[in-house]
Amino acid sequence: MLFDDYAARFARGERPDAREYLARAGEGVDELGTLIERFLERTAPPAPDDGALRLAEAWVAGNSPLVQLRAERGLRREEVVDSLIAALGLDRAKREKVTGYYHQLENGLLDVTRVDRRVWEVLAEALEARLGDLVAWRPRPIGAKMAYMRPSEILEAASPSMPAAAAAPRAAAEPYPDEVDRLFGQAP
């Protein structure tokens, strides 16, 4: 029984992904969704692990959890970009574009729900983190004025230190969208 398995794993602190269970529920998805939600309402969560705690601390401090994880692993941004290019079989000539998009992703300037799952899988492995945590703990805007600005509004106020490719990731002559644009959710 999907609910029974989910609830027991949650109680054990195994951090089951509700979305994966819902995807397996077929016609029973509504009942399963209700059961899981009602169960979570009434169940104390297990104590968080150190990784979850550090992500939360970075998020509260206004730092990027992705940057935090990268720093903890002793990785430079270029190394993560190399991992993305290698694992996803991307054209190395698109390195600047990939770097730009990854910079935006680290700083909460991309819609995470549109970024391809394969990108997250590579990042989860490179950063030794749980894929769900990377998606969940996206950076929060800093300061009261920005507290609830949408990513597109924040991009307009982006700092000049952002790599040029991030602000204008494609040259006029390049076809759009290309594979990199699609992977980072930038295709229409």
């Binding site: 027991a8 009434r42 104390a44 705690l53």
Partner: protein
């Protein structure tokens, strides 16, 4: 169990450790949003705005009397999901006068967020089996060993209890 969690939450609140509280409840927040929205990609956005609202409440210096923090978390989740379904913006703070529960209703509200209350109406053996399964996550064989029951009896108790639990949880509005 909720009482242990409540004591830990009270310590974290006293210490001003909002990161510790958010870390503890993040899976609950995300799980509820994903479950309510049936896996929609909007769930992560709603969960982010729940966290932002909890952070905003914390910075406002809100205190909640004797109300357990887990109840506050669930009330904020409920409000935010309600805003989402009503088409109201979720990316704004909660209203200034927002209260998770009135002082005279806080005990009842807190009881509504306790799984053990649902088990109270079950026969003792069934209750014991469900508590070990859903509060500790024990496997069927482990439950049988701990309670001195046959594995088959545990399976049957779980089936009965699960049916009852499903009826109550799905019917609960």
């Amino acid at each position: 169990m909720t009482h242990g969690r409540d004591a830990e939450d009270a310590k974290l609140l006293q210490a001003g450790d909002i990161a510790g509280l958010l870390a503890a409840y993040n899976d609950t927040i995300v799980g509820r949003c994903v479950a309510r929205l049936r896996g929609s990609l909007d769930a992560e956005d709603v969960a982010q705005n729940v966290r932002l609202r909890l952070l905003s409440e914390f910075h406002r210096g809100r205190s909640y009397g004797d109300l357990p923090y887990r109840v506050v978390v669930h009330q904020v989740i409920g409000w935010t999901l309600g805003d989402y379904h009503a088409g109201r913006p979720t990316d704004v703070p909660l209203p200034e006068g927002w209260e998770p529960a009135s002082p005279d209703a806080s005990d009842q509200v807190a009881a509504n967020y306790d799984l053990r209350r649902l088990f109270e109406t079950l026969p003792e053996k069934t209750r014991a089996v469900l508590e070990l399964r859903y509060s500790l996550g024990l496997e069927h064989e482990q439950i049988a060993e701990r309670l001195g029951m046959k594995r088959n009896a545990v399976d049957q108790a779980l089936n009965r209890g699960h049916s009852k639990l499903r009826d109550v949880l799905v019917a609960d509005g």
